[in-house]
Amino acid sequence: MLSSLNGTETHHLMQPRDRASAFDHADAIRRCARGDKGALRQLYEQEAGAMLGVAMRILRRRELAEEAVQDCFVQVWRRAASFDATRGAGRAWLFTILRNRALNILRDGSREETTGADLLADEPDDRPSPESIVVLLDETSRLRRCLEQLEPLRRNGLVLAYTRGLSHGEVASELKVPLGTAKSWIRRAFLQVRECMQ
């Protein structure tokens, strides 16, 4: 997917991702596996800002988002040897780890008080709606085209789950549908996008 972003888009849209795609994530991860801490630092310099943004969108508290980013880099260092470049882009691998860390913090039962209270959030909840997130994707994006083909409520469920880390139950209450319905909508929508992306 990242390679398809090369050179086909207008300049102003490309800056952050252009920088990301010019950087060889897979190579840096392999160097981490050999114990090269400089490579981890390069990954950090390259991605910490973007990761913090993704983690903030899920956690809404800077301190927790920072912890997710730290957890992520510690994991990257430890798991670098298990990275298999033939199975996918390095950047997607990094962000999968980051999102899993952030989601673990979000769902950590022992922190319900700290993560659940809106009062403790560092910023008001002005996170963009799922509709506007889809519009933030490049006009040329295939993912965007595929998401736009979904029925709106299902698309919203899918995007809310991915970007805010909502659980099946939370998506159900957000969409005001029964849990089972939300589950099957999201899973079905995921498959539809997968098929559309092929």
């Binding site: 510690v74 997130i133 880390g165 099946h168 999201i186 995921f190």
Partner: protein, 234 residues
């Protein structure tokens, strides 16, 4: 497992799994190249959504924290770790064992007491033992860097008259299960790993119900009450 393979791929990539479920799925990915390929491909497809989050400038403290956690570089100033830091570390590693999202507050409190009540050498491996039909943990096994192992029970386990609880580990399939402790009732206690090779990730630990004097054949004979795989603690 009622969810189909496609459902589980969707749940994992979208982030809809509980921590323990996600970890079990990751272990499956390590064994199943085809599944891993499908997951990596899906993750790459949806990854573009990550670019719609507004980037935030990271504070320098984040990198310093990473460095100190990696432990190969000294933090700039030697600090004496306050007691709360040890408790915090315990919470932290529980999250990574997948315990966090599932724990009832009572189990967490009970286990916290177990942690706070003794000076805790940093565990190197942790296994959260759960029953076959539930994700509620019943016990934790932790092994420190010296190979000292400890069982921390989180729940009372009913033991019928004339029976006992036996703790086992499976260092390798060739070697088979090895008994590492026998107890008349659920209790937190040390475990003896002297007869087995050094612990590794994904090593099975389990508790079975056996005759009061232990399994007569040196292998588990009774039902498996709780089991779990080791995970390396950070």
């Amino acid at each position: 497992m009622s969810a189909s393979r496609d459902d589980r791929v969707a749940d994992y990539v979208l982030g809809l799994m509980e921590a323990a479920e996600a970890e079990a799925f990751e272990r499956e990915l390590a064994q199943d190249a085809d599944l891993a390929r499908i997951v990596a491909e899906s993750a790459a497809q949806f990854h573009e959504l990550d670019a719609t989050a507004e980037p935030r400038p990271p504070r320098d403290e984040i990198w310093r924290g990473i460095e100190s956690r990696l432990g190969t570089q000294r933090p700039p100033v030697a600090v004496v770790r306050p007691e709360w830091a040890a408790i915090w570390q315990s919470l932290r590693f529980w999250r990574w064992t997948g315990f966090g999202g599932l724990a009832t507050s009572a189990a967490l409190a009970a286990a916290l007491v177990a942690f706070v009540a003794r000076p805790a050498p940093a565990p190197q491996f942790v296994a959260v033992l759960v029953p076959a039909d539930s994700t509620a943990p019943g016990a934790i096994v932790e092994i420190d860097a010296q190979g000292a192992a400890r069982l921390i029970t989180l729940k009372d386990i009913p033991v019928p008259e004339g029976r006992a609880l036996e703790v086992w580990t499976l260092p390798s399939v060739e070697r088979g299960p090895v008994s590492i402790g026998l107890m008349p009732r659920a209790q937190s206690r040390g475990l003896s790993l002297t007869a087995v090779p050094p612990t590794h990730s994904d090593q099975l630990f389990e508790i079975t119900l056996e005759p009061a004097s232990g399994s007569p054949i040196g292998r588990p004979t009774g039902p498996v009450l709780y089991k779990g795989l080791t995970v390396q603690a950070l």
